[in-house]
Symmetry: C2
Subunit: 472 residues, 2 copies
Amino acid sequence: MSTDTLLDALHERLGGRGLLRDPADMARYGVDWAGERLGQPLAVARPASTAEVSATVMLCREHGVAMTPQGGHSGLVAGALPAADGGELVISLERMDRVREIDPINFSMVVDAGCILDNVKQAAAEHDCDFPLSLGAQGSCQIGGNIATNAGGLNVLRYGMMRELVLGLEVVLPDGRIWNGLKALHKDNRGYPLQQLLLGSEGTLGIVTAAVLKLSPRQTQSRTALLGLPSVEAVIALYGLARRDCSDLLSAFELIPRRCIELAMEATPTLSDPLDDAYPWYVLMEVAASGPLDLGAMLEHLLEQGMERELVLDGALAASDAQAQQLWQFRESMLEGQRRRGEHLRTDIAMPISAIPAFVERASTAIMAASPACEIIAYGHVGDGNLHFNILPPTTLADADKHAHLHELEALLFEVVDEVDGSISAEHGIGRTKQAAYLARLSPLERELADGIKTLFDPAHAMNPGRILPRP
Amino acid sequence: MSTDTLLDALHERLGGRGLLRDPADMARYGVDWAGERLGQPLAVARPASTAEVSATVMLCREHGVAMTPQGGHSGLVAGALPAADGGELVISLERMDRVREIDPINFSMVVDAGCILDNVKQAAAEHDCDFPLSLGAQGSCQIGGNIATNAGGLNVLRYGMMRELVLGLEVVLPDGRIWNGLKALHKDNRGYPLQQLLLGSEGTLGIVTAAVLKLSPRQTQSRTALLGLPSVEAVIALYGLARRDCSDLLSAFELIPRRCIELAMEATPTLSDPLDDAYPWYVLMEVAASGPLDLGAMLEHLLEQGMERELVLDGALAASDAQAQQLWQFRESMLEGQRRRGEHLRTDIAMPISAIPAFVERASTAIMAASPACEIIAYGHVGDGNLHFNILPPTTLADADKHAHLHELEALLFEVVDEVDGSISAEHGIGRTKQAAYLARLSPLERELADGIKTLFDPAHAMNPGRILPRP
């Protein structure tokens, strides 16, 4: 059999640690982060070098076998999960986890794609630098996955998405050739930007094996505040004020509804209500600096302004790192609280910041009209116009009916996204779970160009096929 | 004749103001910024709307006539200049100069591609926002050209290149179809990023007709300093200190050699030596903020640190806006001083910031060995690793011999660029003048993908043909 020949050849090339064929060993490579979806790898290749990735891809190509590049299993759109038919070879980058080089003078570092984000951040910190990408999954997600999905997270408003944090890439193309684009240049206007195409391509155009990352000076101080606000309008007005009043030192500005504070307290009983009263909306914000500025005075000035204008009703300003961590704990525990409620609708939508108040109003009205007993949990990154407008199904609904019900509500929600010229995927990507909604909104011209790009890089449609675009 | 039919059809579609055929009217569309190169338009189309651009492109396509999209004539690589054979229709965007919409809450604005950069900056300022792109040519360059060339300039270290300042695009493709990608979203991970391909494509993949730009809060205060330093090593060390000490409020950090101060004083006799003594290297730096921070104290703290470490030998801190403008006058006058010296070599190279000291040393040695009587003028944007390492030819050299001599020196210089893994085009692009040096450094794989991208968008090779890549 052709696949047996392939697996034998891979075993010979990659060695025993480099190829997993035992179902028990392979199990964890077929499950996504939420544990909701299952895939079935043909086998799992674990190359230890760029040359081994290249050899693996060439062998797959010779044998006509499709490949699923895989990072840290924290994707949310089933983009890096193998198909259920057992026909795809998973190529895991997990053994390529070396920090190759750090150049603090150039504010750059070169890392293998399999490096875990937290390790990259730690290595940068040891050289008095920050790698500012900040995600809930940073303890497990890998740089290659962050690149493939153009990851976002908490600090985008200040530092940009992964696209803006990458200076160069090394990529194994779908035919196995290695593209060395590992340049450590902050400016480079030579021709078409290949690396921009790879960023966010979800493993469909090639396998990122290494990257040059852009660093920032290490922040030496930060201040965190949790504020209670009367309305989404007030949140948006405060954001405009904060961007101006805090110069460019605002690094996070998170919208949190009251329900999320309650979910956080349910999930973590040691948390108590953060402010004396309950407020309909909260903002968790952070300012940070690397130099000797008085951030406390800056933040107090902002809060005075916010209170004077009746945007801020009350607030807690962390007086220590421990207190700041406790405020951030609400953000983490609310996710855990959501998870405990079982199957629910997670979305990741974007819109102009100015559209957020009207969107929340219209979307909430539409959803509650269709499903009066559901619960809406709309939180997100205000500065990016990015909401995770999630829905907990009615507790009375039978488990078997939840999926279809939530799917209907998602369609309703996406219609409101269309009305504000928004995006159905702000930071999670398309993968397989968002594909239908994505394709339905793609113009024929956009589809033609997207197909052309895929075919240019991967004429055999063997590299992560069926993600973003359907198989031809 | 086919071109006559085309021009008649264009005249009918665009009207008298929309098509220039008189050689006197067309003359200025065939000259580049430095006045050094000449092109000969077939005619000049001046469409007044996206629909008219689309109609123009479709007519050209029907008649098999090549097109040169043109902005504000400030390009430096002959990318937007028509060919000398009179076969290309210039499509000037200059009549499309409308600011379509400003949304200060979303920190975005929608503008026609023909808007002059200064007008865009002014319109943003009226809404308490900044559009931070800052170039010497901002009084004449157009947004469409800034996008097509992925423009850089003085504030890249803080705000990024044009690529990072664009949220969405409207583009007329080489077949005349209109792609509406005018989204005002700060995050959008839906599929392959078409707009990234257009950014920096120098008019070879389509004509940008409008853009959504990303704005910042308007800076309400800034501080400028001109410092004297002993060496390039000291400049680089001070840069690292400044990035940290000034948090993220550093908006410009320009390296200037002594010779440029002298050229500036020659060009503008009202300028006097800015510091009591002459120093081999100067840094012109600016910090800016939108909120109530004490920038003066911040900058003084940095200078104390710099002096303590003997990085800074002396400095002038502007006490007023007028004084700050006077310091910036050195930057502008030195360019004028260079220009007055007649033909000279202008380069635009990038390298890792950490490589700058060794590069300046090695490149200077190589150039002076080859041409002992030439003068080197190396200035640039330190935070971007971007040097304009320019060369004035020996004054004794006959005018007729200058071009060939400078071309030889450029080749020598680019070899040193290769040694530090640098780029021969940091911000100016490839166009036609950098094409040979670009192609010589392109791997077969990169060439294949670049050709594939061009062919995908423009199979007839009619849109700005021969720029970036040669005609097939």
